[in-house]
């Protein structure tokens, strides 16, 4: 029954929130905290994060392991609910949305690039890129996906499965998948973490190039200062708090 009522209600909520989006920053986090219970007691992963990200802005998030970077991305994408605070993305208050609405929000608003690529092994490169478009009901999913892969330089590899591609190629597919639906926001979690330096540089070039052409907001986690410096802004996560970091010009 939950599934049956979801589409209509979710669509209305989604449209209403979309109308309010124009006048706000694309992403607005206020007092976001996340505390998880564990056997050793409560663990404060995020401790009151306030953050605004504008449309078309690029933001790098740095910080040591366990500082809350990945959790912050999970909260931004609606995959993790904060214990406190509000998260608004493209006018959607994620705290008021149920799981299905969040799924709908992700498929229309967000693209994600993971460190481990996370392509679906049983699907070709083309199918992998088409999946979010198909989920969004795009009738030209495969045409759009094909163009996206061409743009990523993978035209000849469209029919290949992930296991038949190198790490760099897989990450290109993941980038094409993230940008294919022209989302307002792309999240990238250490996109070069599993790649060698040269490949990583090429991947970053590709990502920034597509971002620039689509005017997409890009938030990426990186330990690489050079990549971070290419972003408009850098924040540093420390013990669950976001601290603005100085950008070397």
């Amino acid at each position: 029954m939950r599934e049956a009522r979801a589409p209509l209600v979710t669509l209305i909520a989604f449209m209403m929130s979309s109308m309010a989006a124009a006048s706000q920053p694309l992403v607005q986090l206020r007092g976001v905290a996340l505390t998880l219970e564990s056997a050793a007691g409560a663990v404060n992963i995020l401790r009151g994060v306030d953050l605004d990200i504008g449309a078309s802005e690029t933001l790098a998030i740095t910080g040591p392991s366990g500082s809350g970077k990945s959790t912050l991305l999970a909260v931004l994408t609606g995959l993790e609910r904060p214990s406190a605070g509000t998260v608004t993305v493209a006018g959607h208050n994620l705290g008021t949305m149920d799981e299905d609405a969040l799924a709908l929000f992700r498929r229309n608003t967000i693209g994600i690039v993971f460190q481990s690529f996370h392509l679906i092994p049983t699907m070709t490169a083309l199918e992998n890129v088409a999946v979010p478009l198909e989920l969004a009901g795009n009738k030209d999913a495969f045409a759009v996906a094909g163009a996206s892969l061409e743009a990523a330089g993978l035209g000849p590899r469209m029919g290949h499965y992930p296991s038949q591609m190198s790490g760099g190629e897989q990450q290109r597919v993941a980038i094409a998948r993230a940008f294919a639906g022209a989302p307002a926001l792309v999240i990238a979690d250490e996109p070069t973490g599993n790649l060698d330096t040269n490949t990583g540089a090429a991947i970053v070039d590709l990502m920034f190039s597509i971002q620039a052409s689509q005017h997409t907001a890009l938030v990426l986690i990186t330990h690489d200062r050079t990549i971070a410096q290419r972003c408009d802004r850098i924040i540093h996560m420390q013990d669950g708090r976001a601290v603005p970091a100085t950008k070397v010009t």
């Binding site: 991305l73 799924a103 979010p132 998948r177």
Partner: protein
């Protein structure tokens, strides 16, 4: 039409191949196949019984008379109301070859028009009339192959029956009115009616059955004809039936055996269901990252559920269809192999009802076991993708899925109860199977808890083996549950089989008779007694006169018009044997009333078996009307006595007081207790001296009874073995699912300095402990179940058979170890470096 997204994505996911789903498909195919096979086979047998009902009865209708032929009025009615009449005589007799070897035969005398329906098949091919005709002054005979082999005779040889000899001219292939599997004491020997008359075996009082078979006018309703017949001759005392209701007992037997075997097959399916659940869980565990990825791309939980539901549905359909094909083809394959054990040889046809039922069982089992892990899969948290720690969800699914799972289980139970045609048995099975699954799961929890609580074990191989059995995510619980339940069924069946066989063979009284002799004529009794007693080794000879007749009324109320609760009791339905006696025999225990005085000279009185009296609500002082040789005798119940039928002596439910029966035509029956070494001598002495007396060896009867039991128990064991097969599939699936973990463990052990033999020891100990615990628990539960059935359902004495338990449970344990080692053997040769590079 656009294919729905869930189906498109499911189809892409299925490209990954069926790895991990082989057990899923095999478990469903095995269970569904077993149910479909049993259903198809029993439906084909029942259908064959119905299709050949006329031929099997021998006519549209049949009237059986014992000890007397039909009288003129009856014959006139037969001729006037039917298109054709055939007369067949049946009796048991002795056949002797030229060397003096004698055996008991089922002798049949037939007329020219036999068989009215169906075809007699003879080898070499010839007509029955030709085979039975007189040639050179010697009448012909045909016989079943057993007679030829037992008497070492060939075609053209002669055999003595009664006062004459006949020439064996053909081997009987098909005798249309003889139902195989029905208890017969010897092979068929068939002669013409005229030949039978000349044997001297047909005398007044002989245990001869005369069967009148009728071909009716095609427009006539046999049931109506039968009603008219009984109305015309209410006191005839015959057994009459028509073809549409002639085989109900056999059909009921086939139905019941089919129901029982279906339920055993269902147990195999449910056990396989554990494997189905494990396979789905294991498959989805491997898909966790994909599920998380789909959710991160915007797939709803509902869509994720649908994607994997369709995959499981397609694979379940493959398993079910494979099972249905195997089941539907079973009659085709099995009939030539076990045709002798079936009451009829069925033809091949598709029986949609049992196939549909088997498919429904399969679909419900797949739903009941697969829905839970499928519903859990939709809850996989995608946030884990950011931390590279995506793990399967173990918490309870959402309420609708729990309700759906419960609904599937209830539907399965409902189908078991109401779909098998025997609600009581179905309910019993459902309770036992569910109880067994729950009990084994609890035992598995207990055992794993116990193993975890053990103090630190110093021996590393044993410590590692036990750690494998108890680590998080281990399949120990489900393997113990499924394999244990399968083994329990096998132990139960073995014990029930042993109990039934022992009840027949070992619970005979110490002084059981070695022989029963029938058809002793009154003028032979003195010579007979003298002949038997003259043989050294004869311990006791009992002989009683006997007559046959039927109960026609109780307290003046005619049977048949009495629609009370007892009207279908054998006491009023069957032909009974009576005797008469002046004094009580030793050991008689009266429960009510008084035995008559030795010089009793009053109206007819009887002594009645107290258990019959209780079942029929007959008390001392009541009257029972008997029809004996066409004459009604109203007798008052003088006393009730307890009869110990297990003592196996000659006894009768009804004993008449002196005065009523002495002058009626009668024969004598006798039993003899003899030393084992004297049996052949007694047999030879009687059969050589008295050609008309039939000697029945008790040992032969027991051998035939156990032989019949053996055929049934073979079928039960074969189906029951499938439950173990299902358990083995679950084990195989668990080994396959845990392979990656085992490879990693063995590589780490090797890196730490373990040799192959050390890794082998760990695996050996792990499976030995698993097999041992499972075997012990299965032996206990199987024994408990068999004890309950013997004690309460069969009301018998319990005998614990050690070989049956050790053979079943021990065999299962060995199987676990062998299968476990076979499944992990290749791991031993795994080189560490590639595995370490890959992780």
């Amino acid at each position: 039409m656009a294919v729905p997204l869930a189906l498109r994505l499911a189809a892409r996911e299925l490209r990954g191949g069926l790895t991990g789903f082989r057990v899923f498909i095999a478990a469903l195919a095995l269970g569904v196949g077993a149910i479909a096979a049993v259903g198809s086979l029993s439906a084909s047998v029942v259908s064959e019984l119905q299709n050949n009902a006329r031929a099997m009865l021998g006519g549209d209708a049949e009237v059986t008379l014992t000890a007397r032929p039909a009288d003129d009025a009856e014959l006139a009615f037969f001729d006037a109301t039917s298109a054709q009449v055939s007369v067949v005589h049946d009796l048991r007799s002795m056949a002797r070859n030229g060397d003096g070897t004698v055996m008991l035969v089922e002798l049949k005398g037939v007329d020219d028009v036999y068989p009215l329906f169906g075809q007699m098949t003879l080898t070499p091919s010839q007509t029955l009339d030709d085979a039975l005709a007189m040639r050179d002054g010697v009448p012909g005979a045909v016989a079943e192959a057993e007679l030829f082999s037992r008497l070492a005779l060939g075609l053209g040889d002669r055999v003595f029956i009664g006062d004459i000899e006949v020439e064996l001219r053909a081997v009987i292939g098909v005798e249309p009115d003889r139902t195989a599997g029905v208890m017969a004491l010897g092979p068929r020997l068939m002669v013409s009616a005229a030949t039978l008359d000349s044997t001297g075996l047909v005398r007044m009082g002989s245990l001869l059955e005369t069967r009148y078979r009728f071909a009716l006018d095609p427009a006539a309703d046999p049931a109506v004809w039968l009603d008219d017949l009984n109305a015309a001759f209410p006191q005839a005392g015959w057994r009459a039936s028509e073809y549409t209701s002639a085989q109900p007992a056999l059909q009921t037997f086939v139905d019941r055996l089919g129901t029982f075997l279906t339920l055993v097959g269902l147990t195999a399916l449910v056990i396989g269901g554990v494997g189905v659940g494990n396979a789905v869980r294991s498959y989805l565990a491997g898909k966790t990252a994909t599920i998380a990825t789909l959710k991160s791309l915007g797939a709803t939980g509902g869509l994720v559920f649908q994607i994997y539901f369709w995959q499981v549905a397609v694979l379940a359909a493959i398993g079910i269809v494979l099972g249905l094909i195997a089941g539907a083809l079973t009659p085709l394959v099995v009939t030539p192999l076990i045709g002798d054990a079936l009451p009829v040889a069925p033809g091949f046809s598709l029986y949609w009802l049992p196939l549909g039922l088997a498919a429904a069982y399969g679909a419900l089992t797949a739903t009941a076991f697969a829905l839970w892990p499928l519903a859990q899969a939709r809850e996989v948290p995608a946030a884990g993708l950011f931390r590279a720690i995506v793990s399967p969800v173990r918490r309870w699914p959402r309420t609708p899925y729990v309700i759906l799972t419960a609904g599937a289980i209830l539907a399965l139970i409902g189908l078991a109860i109401f779909g098998t045609g025997n609600p009581w048995l179905g309910a019993w099975f459902a309770a036992a199977t569910l109880g067994g699954l729950v009990a084994f799961r609890l035992v598995a929890f207990g055992v794993m808890g116990g193993l975890l609580a053990l103090p630190q074990i110093r021996r590393p191989s044993l410590r590692l083996a036990l750690a494998s059995l108890t680590r998080p995510g281990t399949a120990t619980g489900s393997v113990m549950m499924s394999l244990g339940l399968g083994l329990s069924v096998l132990v139960s069946v073995a014990l029930l089989d042993a109990n039934l066989t022992r009840q027949i063979t070992e619970q005979l009284p110490d002084q059981a008779p070695a022989f029963f002799f029938i058809d002793i004529q009154p003028d032979q009794v003195d010579a007979f007694d003298a002949t038997v007693m003259a043989v050294p080794g004869v311990i006791e000879l009992s002989r009683l006169p006997t007559l046959r007749g039927r109960v026609v009324a109780i307290n003046g109320t005619e049977i048949g018009t009495n629609t009370g609760e007892h009207h279908d009791h054998w006491f009023v339905h069957s032909e009974l044997g009576f005797t008469y006696a002046t004094t009580m025999t030793d050991g008689t225990v009266l429960t009510d009333g008084q035995w008559w005085p030795a010089a009793y000279d009053g109206p007819p009185a009887i002594s009645l078996d107290s258990s019959v009296a209780e079942q029929m609500a007959i008390a001392v002082g009541d009257t029972v009307t008997f029809n004996i040789l066409g004459r009604d005798i109203v007798a008052q119940v003088a006393n009730l006595r307890r009869v110990d039928w297990q003592a196996m002596g000659i006894n009768f439910s009804v004993i008449f007081a002196p005065g009523a029966l002495e002058n009626a035509p009668q024969i004598h029956v006798a039993s003899a207790v003899v030393d084992a070494g004297a049996e052949d001598a007694v047999f030879d002495a009687v059969t050589e001296t008295f050609t008309n007396i039939t000697a029945v060896r008790v040992r032969d009867v027991i051998e035939r009874a156990t032989g019949l039991l053996e055929k049934i128990s073979t079928a039960v064991r074969a189906i029951s073995a499938l439950t173990l097969g299902a358990g083995v599939l679950v084990l195989a699936g668990a080994i396959a699912a845990g392979r990656r973990g085992r490879v990693y463990d063995s590589v780490i052990l090797k890196v730490l300095g373990a040799r192959r033999i050390d890794v082998l020891k760990v695996h050996l100990l792990e499976f030995a402990v698993l097999g041992l615990i499972t075997g012990i628990v299965a032996a206990a539960t199987g024994t408990l179940a068999a004890w309950a059935v013997v004690r309460f359902a069969m009301d018998g004495d319990w005998l614990f058979d050690v070989p049956a338990v050790v053979g079943s449970a021990g065999g299962g344990m060995v199987l676990v170890v062998i299968l476990g080692l076979a499944g992990t053997w290749r791991i031993l040769g795994q080189k560490p470096a590639p595995v370490l590079r890959a992780t």
